[in-house]
Structures are given as C-alpha cells and as structure tokens.
C-alpha cells in the first residue's frame, strides 16, 4: 500500500535528532533539521495509513478502527468542574497527528497575545520571546505552509507573506458585505492549502494529496524526501531512560516489542496532552516527579479555547465557507476575547443534532437529548443554507488545570473565564444585530482540539519547564516543539504558532550544532 514509509527496520542509534510525534510541531521541526543536513528519526505512536485515505474525525468506537483511521484511539477522560466525562476528542494519531484533520487555518496572533503592551497587559508579563523576535519564524512558517489569505485590516503589523487567495464565492462575498456593513473588518482567513488541480478543500478531513499543508505534507514528507530522515510508525514511547541530566535512550514499544532508540538530541512533540505524559511516566529515582519536572509544572496550566458557535444566514445557498475571519472582538473593554471565523461547515441536520445534544449534556435536561433530533430536523429546514461561524475565546493558565501521567484531564472553568464569555457573547450578539444570526451554545464548550500550555516556556526555571529556545531547563539534550510551550492560549488557532515555534527551536538546535 502507498503509505508514508514505515521504517520498522530503521537503526536504533546514530541519529542527530530523534523526534517523538509527527504533528505540526514535530513534522515542521524534523523537516527543518533534515533539510539542514541532520539525520532525523521520527517516532510516531499512530499507524501508517494509505496516503489516499480521506476520512474525517468520527465517533467510530473500536480503538483498532480508530487507530487505522489516524484517530486518537482511546477516549479522553476529563473532569470538568467536578463532573467526569469520557468522550472522543478531535485529536489525531498517526503521521501528521491532529493536523491531518484540521481546517488549515493558520492565523498569526496579535502582538498583545505575546507581548506585554500598553493598555493590554499580558497575564504572564509576556512570553520569553517577543512578537518581533518570533515574526521571522511566523513568516517562514507561512511560506512553508503555502498560506493564502488577506491581512487583517485592523492590524498595524507587517503582514505575513500571504499568497493571493482564490476569488470570493457568492456566499463569501455576501458574508463580507454584510459584516462590513455592520462596521466589522473581515479578511480572507489565512489558509494552508496549495490548491493543486483537483483540490477538494479537505477541511476537517485527511487530504489524499500533498495539497492541504499539514504535519505530514509540510513536515514529515519533505523531511523523508531529503533521504536523511526515517519514520517509525506504531512506536509508542513508554519512557525516557535517564543518565543524570541527560536522556540516555528513548524506550518505545514497536509492534509489541520494546526497543531503545538513541540520539544526540531528543525532541518531544507529542502534543500538549501527550508530551507531559511521557515526562511524567518517565519518573525514576533521580527524577521522582517526572523528567524535566523540577518546577512541578509538567502537565499544568492546561488551556483550551472556548468555542462560541454561531449560525449566520447569508441569504444565499452555497458551499460551506472557511474564508471569513475578523478580529473586531479580539480585545474589548480591556478584556482578552478572541477571533471569529467561518468554520467551513454548513448547518446540516447532523451538526445541529450534535450541537443540540452537546448543549443538553451536563444539564438537567440531559434525558431530553434524543428529543433534540426533532428540533434539529426543523432547524435543518430553516438553517439549510446557514454558514457556521465560531468565536474562539482565549483561555488563561491556571496551575490546577492539568493532564496527569494517566492522561486524565482536570479542568476548572474559572469565574474570570465565565465572565469573559458573557462579554464575548454579548459582543457577538451586538456584532450580528440586524442580521440573521443565532448563537447555538448554552453551556461553555471547550475546544478539545486546541490543548496547550502544559510545558510552558519562560526564563525562570522555577516557573517554567522550557527555556526560551525550547530546550528544557532541567535536561540538557531534550527539546519540546508542540503546543505545550505556550504560556497563554492566544485568541487564535494555535497551528501557525506551533509551526513557527518549531522552526525557532530547530534554528536554535542547528546553531548549537558545533
């Protein structure tokens, strides 16, 4: 079968760098290292899949069936405000990680997401790398991911290098027009799709061609093409074997056999839920609280976004759009809110049923969930041509929000977040006043596909896990290149930031090569 090469026979030693995880972080970093001449071994927990596969996220239940589809095999267990739920999160496992399912939105955050700015103080005092320091990495990431779109008209910054977007469809033009007439400032969302011949805009599902740019097509595949990288799939890292302040070996189970891989540099890129687990599971005599965890912060400060789902009727029928984004509500009345963007779906019967049921879950109305089908059927008739928008509300870091060694998530919705959510919803209602729009959510809806923050970077080893260059404070040959590093969750999708940081980390590793 045509798969990404599964080099189960790859040598276990002699690598310049060993990259654990092949999502946007690991894939982008591994590509950069391999293209610069390093010998790179990728270890990917998920299975290699036929390159022609084009499935999306699904509720397929058997772990084996999930694994072959590149879905995270096990349900997530999360205790939110004391209520424990088990559910399948929108996470991937396989070459490309979760990014093979993403909608290719590659937004650069605003300056205040990263820097402490006048009038917009940063909750952590600012990231250890400033907006201007990271800007070249963002630009490089936008080039590698072939991003097209138009700049945010509200931004005073030098725009990303964006390719020209395709012309707006009638539905998109109508949405732009309506938003502009409401005094908003929409722009063509930055999107990482090559748009080759026969492009089918694989938003939310695997792209069978090297067209949607993700951790596979823009990361692992170009890395393998250098001839200096190899990929072992089905390799679940069980622990890091320590020798003092260095990692001596990476122990992984491959096809049921335990193997030890060695490299001069180890890069952890298993995602904000996966990477801290590897460190915590690797606890040993010298590292009783987990590897690289002298700060006690490994797995902590877990953040998501809150989704505010909104149906908007452009008054025209047409294919779903992903092209519209605006930041008019990004920061309001001294509060961090977030971006609003089209989700790339239309309201169909299934989606509305899903949202209605999610709305009822966890409320006293939960027994009514099956009844949601009927209003959903009516809504589908009414909303047939509605486009779905989502507002991403920034989440802030709290020490007790965390993922444990067993993968169990503990999360508390703080009053501060709930208050900002009220402000955000009010702002959304105002923004769409006079238009046909409907906020679909009732209960806060955590975006389980956007976890971050669990290995935050910073200058002070007592208050952060990583240094500014992505290396851990505690372990000299261990770097991290995924969403774990983020001290705050920003008001935009994390993908481009993960890619930009991965490039920054790679550059540091290459600079320190001699």
């Amino acid at each position: 079968m045509s798969t990404l090469a599964d080099h189960g026979d790859a040598p276990e030693g002699g690598w310049d760098a060993l990259v654990i995880g092949t999502g946007i972080g690991g894939g982008t970093l591994g590509r950069r290292l391999a293209e610069a001449g390093m010998r790179v071994l990728f270890l990917e927990k998920g299975q290699a899949d036929a390159r022609s596969a084009e499935n999306g996220l699904s509720e397929v239940a058997l772990p084996e069936a999930r694994a072959v589809r590149g879905l995270w095999p096990a349900p997530l267990t999360a205790t939110v405000d004391g209520i424990t739920q088990r559910f399948f999160a929108p996470l991937g496992s396989g070459p490309g990680g979760s990014s093979v399912f993403y909608a290719a939105t590659l937004e650069r955050p605003d300056r205040h997401d990263i820097d402490d700015t006048p009038g917009r103080p940063h909750p952590t005092g600012g990231w250890p790398l400033g907006f201007d320091t990271l800007a070249p990495s963002y630009a490089e990431a936008a080039r590698l991911y072939r991003v097209y779109g138009t700049p945010d008209p509200l931004s005073p910054e030098v725009p990303l290098p964006l390719r020209a977007p395709p012309p707006l469809t009638a539905v998109e033009a109508r949405l732009f027009d309506r938003l502009q007439r409401s005094g908003l400032h929409p722009y063509h969302a930055p999107t990482g799709i090559e748009r080759i011949d026969g492009c089918r805009m694989c938003l939310g599902r695997k792209c069978p061609k090297a067209c949607k740019m993700d951790g596979r097509s823009a990361g692992v595949e170009p890395a393998l093409a250098t001839g200096r990288a190899r990929l072992v799939t089905g390799a679940e890292v069980t622990r890091l074997v320590m020798d003092g302040d260095r990692i001596a070996a990476v122990e992984a189970t491959v096809d049921g056999t335990s193997r030890r891989f060695t490299a001069r540099r180890i890069v952890l890129a298993g995602g904000a839920l996966g990477s801290p687990r590897v460190l915590l599971r690797s606890a040993c005599e010298d590292w009783p609280d987990g590897v690289a965890n002298r700060s006690g912060l490994v797995g902590r400060n877990l953040m998501f976004h809150l989704n505010e789902i909104l149906a908007v009727w452009p008054g025209l029928d047409g294919p779903p759009t992903k092209a519209v984004s605006f930041r008019d509500l990004y920061h309001r009345d001294g509060q961090r809110l977030g971006t609003v963007q089209a989700m790339g779906i239309r309201a169909s019967y299934g989606e509305i049923t899903y949202y209605l049921q999610r709305m009822l879950e966890g409320t006293r109305l939960a027994p009514l969930a099956p009844v949601a089908r009927l209003p959903a059927a009516l809504a589908a008739r009414l909303l047939g041509s509605a486009q779905i928008l989502v507002g991403l509300l920034e989440d802030l870091p709290y020490r007790e929000n965390r993922v444990g060694a067993d993968g169990h998530i503990h999360y508390t919705l703080h009053d501060e977040l709930k208050a900002r959510r009220r402000v955000f919803r009010r702002a959304l209602r105002q923004a769409f006043r006079g238009q046909r729009g409907l906020l679909l959510g009732i209960a806060p809806d955590l975006n389980w596909g956007h976890p971050c923050g669990t290995l935050r970077f910073g200058h002070d080893p007592a208050h952060s896990v990583l240094r500014a260059d992505g290396r851990t404070h505690d372990v000299e040959n261990l770097w991290v290149a995924d969403a774990s590093f983020m001290p705050t969750s920003m008001g935009v999708n994390p993908s481009l930031t993960i890619a930009a940081f991965a490039l920054h980390v790679a550059d540091g590793m290459l600079g320190g090569r001699k």
Binding site: M1, A50, S52, V68, A377
Partner: protein
Amino acid sequence: MRVTPEDGIVVVTGAGSGLGRALAHVFAHKGFAVAGLGRRAEALEETAALCPGFFAVPVDIADAGAVRAAFATLPAPAVLVNNAAIYPRRDLLAETGESWAETVNSNLNGLVNCTLAALGPMVQRGQGRILNVATFADLNPLPGAAAYSVSKGAARIFTRALIADITDRFPGIVVSDWMPGMLATKMGIRDGLDPATAAAWGATLALLRDPSLTGSTFEMDREILPPRGLKNRVKDALLLRRRRPRVLSDL
C-alpha cells in the same frame, strides 16, 4: 462518473459460464481488458474465444493463497465483479460439514478472497468499483437451498461490513450489490432472462462509480430502496426527502 478502460482492467469471477461469460463479453466489447477467473481452464478458453482482450485466469477462488498469487500477476483492477457462485440443490439432511463448507468456501470466502486481493491496488489509488452479484435467497430460504441461501446472505452482510470498514476512508472505492434477476442459465431457470440482457445492466452498473452508489442494491436495472418504517416514511415526507429508486437508463 464512469470507469474507462484507461482506469484499469475489469476482473470477473466465474467467467467460464453463464452470467460471468456474458459480463466478460459486454466489458470486452466496451474496450476493457478483462481478466476472467474460474476453476475450469477450458471453459475460460471458450469465453476467451468470444471476447477480445480477455485473459483467462484459472484459479479456485476458495483458495486464498492462489487468489493472492493470481492477482499479483494482474494489472491494477478498476472493477471487480464478484459473480462466481455455486448452487448445489441439496436437502439439509443430506449436507455434511464438508459439503456445506464447500459452498461457503466458494460463495462467501471466495468473494472475500477476491475482494481483499483487489482492494490492495484500489486502496493505493483511492479508487475502484466492486459489484457483488447477489440474491434475495437469504430472505426466504427455499427447501433444498440452505447452503446457497446462507452463504449468499452472508455475502450481503460482507458487502455492508466492507462498506463500514472502508467507505469513510476511501469513498472513491464504490461498493454495491446487484441482483441480476432469474436467468436462463445452468444455475437459473429454463424460462429465465437471457443472460446477455442482464449482463448489459450489470456491466453498466459496474462501470458507474458515483460514490452515492455505495451501499445501494439494484435488481435488474433499477434500485431497490431499503424498507422504511411508517415513522421514517412520515419523517421523509415532512422533510421533503422521499427517495426515488434510481434506474440505470437515467444514470
């Protein structure tokens, strides 16, 4: 969306006689290279004499290893028509474990063997067409047709299981069942339909590859919709989505 000879070859099982030979004939005259599988080499040669571009692949489809080896020698298949079946008329009291297994090995396992072998190259290209020649024999098994009814019924379940496992990942591989009708073949009835007539329908259906055909059942030249209960029929009417069966001449 139709399969063309440039997309690859057509594989027909049971091509040495009856409907299989008639199908091979239609595909061959539409310009397709046809690989015909069957147990009897001489019967396949007779088919070959009637069909330009036909190559005989003598193999017992019940033998998984032999099927794998046979497919390994073939160009990539664009279409697989699982037509081969045996229909022993035998009272259940006269069946033995061995005679029963022979029917299941041919009608169910043989179909599975050929499907698995064809899926390799189809998955690689993300494209293909699998048409399973099926029957309603499983709904009301006739006396004397136990092994046939059970094995052919199980083959219909296999169609659904195959769809459950691959269609979300590879929607370009289109899988469906086709009931040819009662034919005037050795397996069928004396006053049945001319197999050439049925083969024309079957070949047309096998060359259609619109993903919406996956999971459909056609009988002769028209679609058989799954039965809907009263509640669902009312819902369909309310939602203005009552489905009409498709007819081959419109597709």
